[in-house]
């Protein structure tokens, strides 16, 4: 139970940090976008491993779901923040 509470607090803190990071003004617009999506992927993995207890599951399940989350976050983080002139 203590572990669940710690994970929950971590998720809330990461949400606040990503809201802050999204408001950062930078010359390289992909940096805040990358930070926001990296945090989103990390939160995703936390929910999968801790709330859904996938840390106990077979490696193929862990790899499949984490792989998809990372790819989705990478696509949005890299191409979503690119400045087009």
């Amino acid at each position: 139970m203590k572990r669940l509470i710690l994970v929950y607090l971590g998720l809330i803190i990461l949400t606040i940090v990503s809201a802050y990071a999204s408001g950062m003004e930078m010359d390289q617009a992909w940096i805040p976008a990358g930070i926001v999506m990296a945090l989103a992927a990390f939160k995703f993995i936390l929910v999968v491993m801790e709330y859904m207890e996938m840390r106990k599951a077979h490696g193929i399940w862990k790899f499949s779901i984490v792989f998809m989350a990372v790819i989705a976050a990478l696509i949005v983080g890299i191409f979503g923040g690119v400045q087009i002139v």
């Binding site: 139970m1 669940l4 509470i5 994970v7 929950y8 998720l11 809330i12 949400t15 990503s18 809201a19 999204s22 976008a33 926001v36 999506m37 945090l39 989103a40 939160k43 995703f44 929910v47 999968v48 801790e50 709330y51 859904m52 207890e53 996938m54 106990k56 599951a57 077979h58 193929i60 399940w61 499949s64 779901i65 998809m68 989350a69 790819i71 989705a72 976050a73 696509i75 949005v76 983080g77 191409f79 979503g80 923040g81 690119v82 400045q83 087009i84």
Partner: protein, 199 residues
């Protein structure tokens, strides 16, 4: 209230490839759902590259505050559901039921906030045909909204079954319901930053 509901616990080997927590069929569904939403996000990014100005203006019209509140609400709901599963596994049925009720209440709060946000958009004429960004916004959040409603219905059915003292509920059923509910969390964790924060 006397709780006589029976939670049947069977020892499951989660390390086996055929029995992930929540069940193999549900995990195939979860993978397909994440893949589909991921592909839609790739489509969203593709159109953003075509019309960056339009996407920047459209994102600015979204209510980031309500989106953030809804993220916290859904994460809280996920915490309650994980706690419910934990309690049921410890044979603490009373606490499990209370956590499930808290999950459903916070899930309903998400629905109400989202409904309010949809109303705000429609009031100013930002419908599904406004532009490509809003087409994605309505489709992605709309499908997610439907998933949350279905998830609430599943949790309600499980809750009624657990509360019914004449039936025995398997922990696998509760885990499967919880996995579906957490899937709603997962999808939102990708949708929220992509739609509200990044562009």
């Amino acid at each position: 209230m006397e709780l006589t509901a029976k939670i049947q616990e069977k020892k499951i080997d989660y390390k086996s490839i055929s029995s992930p927590p929540g069940g193999i069929l549900l995990w195939i569904l979860i993978l397909l759902e994440v893949f589909t939403f991921g592909l839609s996000l790739a489509g969203l990014v593709y159109y953003r590259i075509q019309e960056p100005e339009l996407f920047a203006q459209s994102t600015a019209m979204l209510n980031t505050y309500l989106g953030s509140v809804n993220t916290v609400v859904l994460l809280t709901s996920g915490f309650f559901m994980a706690s419910a599963v934990h309690s049921f596994k410890k044979q603490n049925t009373g606490a499990g039921i209370n956590f499930m009720i808290a999950t459903i209440v916070t899930g309903c709060a998400f629905i109400i906030i989202k409904w309010h946000e949809y109303g705000e958009k429609l009031d100013v004429g930002l419908g599904v045909e406004e532009n490509m960004f809003f087409t994605f916004y309505w489709l992605l959040t709309g499908f997610h909204f439907i998933h949350v409603v279905v998830g609430l219905a599943i949790l309600l059915i499980i809750l009624l079954k657990v509360k019914n003292s004449n039936t025995a509920t398997k922990t696998e059923d509760i885990e499967a319901g919880a996995a579906f509910w957490h899937m709603c969390d997962l999808i939102w964790l990708l949708l929220f930053p992509a739609l509200y924060l990044v562009f």
